[in-house]
């Protein structure tokens, strides 16, 4: 049985997007998702000693996150009955923040396509997480964040042909993975 290591310094890089996708499909709110992820990381750090390495880091973090999501719903529930009017469908300081907010805008498209979109998002993240870290990182920068080839090359200090080889490998792996899990 493989023993898994724990390394909190890589958590954000490796898992934050995955956790975000997991959370946003369950709480449908960008801010709350962020808070829950942050709480999850903190709780993870505190109970690091209890990590036995039986499951992978990601599975372990997800299990913490699940508890946090349940706690979150408990909290909302106990707030019921207290008169509280909160209207934050749109916030004034939404400037520069629209990328995430667009993700689950309830007025954008019908429920079905939203659901498909988030499910697809998880399938994509799932496949991404199976790639080697370097491939996943470059593929994400190139394809999902739409960075220019040159920008990525400069930032990561690699040549363009190097980048294309990595992108090619990642694309092949992603196509196979999604073919199995999505189509």
């Amino acid at each position: 049985m493989p023993n898994h290591d724990i390394n909190p310094n890589n958590w954000v890089k490796l898992y934050s997007d995955y956790l975000y996708n997991y959370t946003i499909t369950r709480v449908s709110n960008h801010e709350i998702s962020q808070d829950l992820i942050s709480e999850t990381f903190m709780a993870g750090l505190k109970s690091m000693k209890n990590f036995k390495g039986e499951a992978s880091e990601r599975t372990w973090l997800i299990s913490i996150l699940k508890r946090k999501i349940i706690d979150h719903y408990r909290k909302i529930n106990s707030n019921k009955g207290k008169a509280e009017v909160r209207m934050n469908l749109t916030s004034e300081d939404s400037e520069g923040n629209w990328l995430e907010e667009r993700v689950l805008d309830p007025f954008d498209g019908n429920a079905e396509s939203t659901m498909e979109n988030t499910e697809l998002g998880r399938a994509i993240q799932n496949c991404l997480s199976k790639l080697p870290a370097k491939q996943a990182n470059i593929f994400e920068m190139k394809t999902i964040l739409n960075y220019e080839t040159e920008t990525i090359c400069n930032e990561l200090n690699i040549t363009a042909s190097n980048l294309w080889v990595i992108v090619h490998r990642a694309r092949t792996a992603m196509a196979n993975c999604l073919e199995k899990n999505w189509f």
Partner: protein
């Protein structure tokens, strides 16, 4: 055009970075190469799927903030 190059051009064209001449050469290659046709269609399918998906990633400064939080917490432990 060898298959390796064909696949490379095919990858580039997914990001609209292939030149006109390259695209013509690729089309010619695809006419007689079944393996590359398969790769091309897979590749296009993947692109279509990825384009359908809104970018669901956290912003860089959010990630930086989370990273700092973790580092702070590690220092106190």
């Amino acid at each position: 055009m060898p298959c390796e190059e064909a696949n490379h051009v095919c990858d580039k064209s997914q990001y609209k970075e292939a030149s006109f001449l390259e695209k013509i050469k690729l089309t010619l290659h695809l006419m007689y190469c079944k393996a590359c046709r398969k790769y091309s269609s897979k590749n296009a399918k993947l692109s279509a799927l990825l384009n359908k998906q809104e970018p669901v990633t956290l912003k860089k400064d959010t990630k930086n903030r989370l990273q700092k939080q973790i580092e702070e917490q590690l220092k106190h432990q």
